[in-house]
């Protein structure tokens, strides 16, 4: 019996806490993706690259001597600008075409290609390391947990709660949801739909950027990190249900737990295939994912 | 005479909404059977159940004696049951001729799939026949999307007839039509039934049209069958009059 307790305490719990810290960042990224889809009906294939840019921005800002905390605040603001410009300058150009779905998919795919190479040009192909701003560990349950990971969990959790409140409890959120539900009606009610679209895209991109900053000290920063992460982000969104905030939250936490716990038993090479396999199964059995569209949380 | 279509106890539920509840009726071969009812009566759901678009939760559909309950649309066509769509469901990016050819290809029964199109002569002959019958010859090479509303409706019916079905399901064929177009469609439908012996099941909103055209009428109300009979019988039925309160019969 004590063996099981020990296993729980020393093996499972740490993995779960680790998974939770990653999970929080994955949820933030998935939230951005699902909000962009829920409102704009756009599949943002470049979402992974925005995540990478967030991480690289943090590296660059820190290199100027700025503290991590300022970088954490500044990066999402800069990312929001980038997202706004991308939406107005590129996505709007194909938005009104009949083949909108395919074209935005291809467009964001092209943007991803450009951004990935741009990062390589700007920062080189070698991985970069970012020092965690908080060092040391705290003792809990007889184990030591890295303080930075605990911070990520708390900060990320607070941010997720903030997003939830923003979308479902504020009038701004109501405006966004209305525009998602019925664009023409909202426009005729005086809602500046164009602005809402660009703003929402910017918001989603900013969330990806924050995820990048948060995870940068945990994983290293390299140019293909976006592509590696985009599959898990899409898996989460699809399993949770495209456009569903509740879905992104639950699926994000669940899947990262599956990933951490399974890493105890299988080699990390199989972790992606496992997640992908789950995504395919969900798509085959319940194509709409766990939950429905935006507004139904 | 055996009915060509026999629906028994068919039901379907969408969540808590019982769209169709235990409906049964028969349609005779070579006759025009109509399903009418006020808004929300469940006509569309019934139609979708029979045409294979949705599966019933209970009940059965028999076509010419064979059980076709829950079969997919492409299987139903093999039995001889074809449907047309209320919102024209054509291949708008393709020319009229191609729309008809795709539908007529069924007549080739899988022959010549990998042969040049010219070899599918049965299909080509049928296309020609339909172009004449539905007065679409001068629009044959136009993209279906560029046709007028009336022409699209005609093409829609032509496409659903191309496979020479034994029964045609018409989903609100005069929806949104002008008076003139409605009269034209009425004579078209009557012609199909009387001249070609085609069995027709139609769901309609235009009660006047139904009364003039049909041999047999089924009235639905709130998901259930309210009454059935000849147009005269149905018109005289007080329950039907009550359901349509305010509408002329």
């Amino acid at each position: 019996m004590s063996n099981a307790m020990e296993w729980l305490q020393f093996v499972l719990a740490p993995q779960m806490i680790n998974g939770l810290s990653i999970g929080v960042a994955v949820v933030l990224m998935a939230l951005g993706l699902t909000i962009i889809f829920g409102l704009l009906d756009v599949i943002n294939m470049a979402h992974g690259e925005f995540y990478a840019i967030g991480a690289y921005l943090a590296v660059a800002l820190l290199a100027t001597g700025m503290s991590f905390w300022w970088a954490l605040v500044l990066t999402p603001l800069l990312m929001a600008v980038l997202g706004f410009v991308t939406e107005r300058g590129l996505i709007q150009r194909v938005f009104h075409s009949k083949d909108r779905h395919t074209l935005t998919l291809l467009l964001t795919f092209g943007v991803a290609v450009v951004l990935e190479d741009a990062l390589k040009i700007a920062f080189g192909a070698n991985p970069l390391r970012l020092e965690a701003p908080i060092s040391g560990a705290t003792e809990m349950l007889g184990l030591f947990f890295p303080n930075y990971r605990l911070f990520v969990m708390l900060f990320g959790g607070a941010l997720i709660a903030g997003v939830w409140l923003l979308v479902f409890r504020t009038s701004l959120g109501a405006i966004v949801r209305a525009a998602a539900y019925d664009r023409n009606m909202s426009a005729s009610l005086g809602v500046p739909v164009q602005l809402v679209y660009a703003g929402t895209f910017a918001f989603g991109v900013a969330l990806a950027g924050i995820a990048g900053v948060l995870l940068a000290p945990i994983y290293s920063v390299f140019p293909t990190m976006g592509k590696d992460f985009v599959l898990i982000a899409f898996s989460v969104v699809i399993i949770g249900g495209m456009g569903s905030i509740k879905g992104a939250l639950l699926a994000g936490l669940l899947l990262t737990q599956v990933q951490s716990i399974s890493s105890l038993y299988i080699s990390p090479v199989w972790s992606d295939p496992l997640l992908f396999g789950i995504m395919v199964l969900v798509l085959m059995w319940r194509p709409q994912g766990l939950f429905g569209k935006l507004g139904s949380a | 005479m055996n009915p060509i279509l026999s629906v028994k106890g068919i039901s379907v539920q969408f969540g808590a909404l019982k769209a169709v509840q235990d409906v049964s009726f028969e349609a005779q071969p070579g006759k025009i059977t109509a399903v009418i009812g006020p808004n929300g009566a469940g006509k569309s759901s019934l139609f979708n159940l029979i045409s294979g678009a949705i599966r019933p939760s209970s009940g059965s559909v028999r076509f010419d004696g064979e059980d076709v309950t829950g079969r997919a649309p492409h299987q139903l066509l093999r039995y001889g049951l074809s449907r047309s769509f209320q919102i024209t469901n054509l291949f708008f990016e393709l020319p009229v001729r191609e729309n008809l050819r795709l539908a007529a290809q069924f007549l080739e029964q899988g022959r010549g799939l990998f042969r040049p199109l010219a070899r599918s002569q049965t299909a080509a002959a049928r296309v020609d026949e339909l172009l004449g019958q539905f007065d679409l010859r001068n629009k044959a090479d136009e993209l279906a999307g560029y046709l007028s509303h009336g022409e699209q409706r005609r093409l829609e019916i032509a496409v659903s007839l191309a496979s020479r079905p034994r029964m045609l399901l018409l989903d609100e064929p005069t929806q949104g039509m002008s008076h003139g177009d409605t009269r034209e469609t009425e004579s078209l439908i009557r012609g199909l039934s009387h001249n070609h012996g085609l069995s027709i099941l139609l769901v309609e909103h235009d009660v006047d049209l139904v009364m003039q055209l049909s041999d047999f009428v089924v009235v639905m109300h709130q998901g259930q069958k309210l009454a059935e009979g000849t147009p005269a019988q149905v018109r005289a039925n007080p329950a039907v009059q009550a359901a349509y309160f305010g509408e002329k019969l």
């Binding site: 074209l103 599959l231 295939p273 992908f276 | 999307g145």
Partner: protein, 349 residues
């Protein structure tokens, strides 16, 4: 009522289809553009041979091999309407199978190709059964995911050479002493192969089977009400595309003497999609043009900088926004108009 006011911005226009169905003995613009491509390729080969060049011949052969991959993408994207973001999976698998056959069994070109064909058909069937149920972005992601996952597995498999891949693949014997080691000889063989593929696909598009694929792309819902099960056609197209990609991939080790997991990476799938869009989705010859032009461009730009991806990427984004029907997508109707005008002139004399 619906109008195709802007028509489909990707894929063959109804107009082109209308012309094809009333085919006259005189050649259409699409045919002329195809003749131009293959004649141009032959001319290129002749000049290169005369100049004793090896590098450009091999580069052109590579462009043709990737053109085959582009054709497989176009079959799915331009004809069925499914976007495959992981077609390199079949290309790479085909390359590996071919390399293994050539290295361990026999250096026969035909055997390598035959085994690859069989293998690709099976792989395509399995992949298709998983992927075909999905549409739109879901299909794209499953395709992407399959390639990501399997390429990682191959990357980590020591028996397949892990990250180094398989090297030392002998050249393949084709016939009458021609083998893949001779640059000009193999260039012609690959050109013939790709030409044959193109002709078969072009032929199929005017058969009931090919037209059914177009119908599925245009309005899948209605297809089932016309008596055909769209799922079967989509699966068939997926398997065919897998075979085309696989057999094209089989030619790669014959050209370069090695295979590596990179052949399955997203870069290759992405490039193929870019080649198709830039060349002209649904035109079949467009992807070949796209592959030729962009492979050349990548090589030229690549000789100046390692960052040719961003150049191609920017070009691609511009194409998607400004000319989504691609080069051949615009060139064909323009050329057709010119040809028709010329014919009218001749007839009026």
């Amino acid at each position: 009522m619906s109008t195709p006011a802007s028509s489909s911005t990707i894929g063959p226009r109804g107009g082109a289809l209308a012309t094809a169905s009333s085919e006259r003995p005189r050649r259409s613009a699409a045919t002329w553009l195809a003749i131009l491509f293959f004649a141009g390729a032959l001319l290129f080969g002749g000049i290169a041979l005369a100049l004793g060049d090896v590098f450009y011949l091999r580069l052109a052969t590579e462009a043709l091999i990737f053109g085959g991959l582009a054709l497989s993408v176009d079959l799915l994207l331009g004809r069925v309407g499914l976007l495959p973001l992981g077609q390199a999976l079949f290309f790479g698998l085909g390359a590996y199978v071919s390399a293994l056959v050539l290295k361990n069994w026999s250096d026969s070109f035909w055997l390598a190709l035959g085994v690859t064909l069989a293998f690709s058909a099976v792989a395509g069937l399995i992949g298709g059964l998983i992927a075909i149920r999905a549409k739109g972005v879901y299909f794209a992601l499953i395709s992407f995911g399959l390639a990501q996952v399997l390429s990682k597995v191959v990357y980590n498999t020591r028996e397949l050479g892990a990250s180094d891949g398989i090297i030392g693949v002998p050249s393949a014997n084709i016939m009458w002493g021609v083998n893949s080691a001779t640059p000009s000889g193999f260039f012609l063989v690959v050109l013939a192969f790709i030409g044959a593929l193109y002709l078969v696909l072009r032929y199929l598009m005017d058969t009931p089977v090919g037209r059914q694929l177009d119908a599925i792309r245009t309005n899948e819902h209605r297809v089932s009400f016309l008596g055909e099960d769209p799922w079967r056609y989509k699966l068939g197209a997926f398997v065919a595309a897998a075979c085309i990609a696989g057999c094209s991939g089989a030619l790669y080790p014959m050209l370069r003497g090695f295979v590596s997991p990179e052949l399955m990476f997203f870069q290759v799938s992405g490039n193929a999609v870019i080649n198709v869009i830039v060349g002209g989705t649904g035109t079949l010859i467009g992807p070949l043009y796209g592959s030729a032009i962009l492979t050349g461009l990548r090589s030229v730009v690549g000789s100046f900088t390692t960052h040719h991806h961003i150049v191609i990427g920017v070009l691609f984004v511009l194409v998607v926004i400004l000319m989504p029907r691609g080069l051949i997508g615009y060139a064909t109707p323009a050329l057709q108009r010119w040809l028709d005008a010329r014919r009218n002139q001749k007839e009026n004399r």
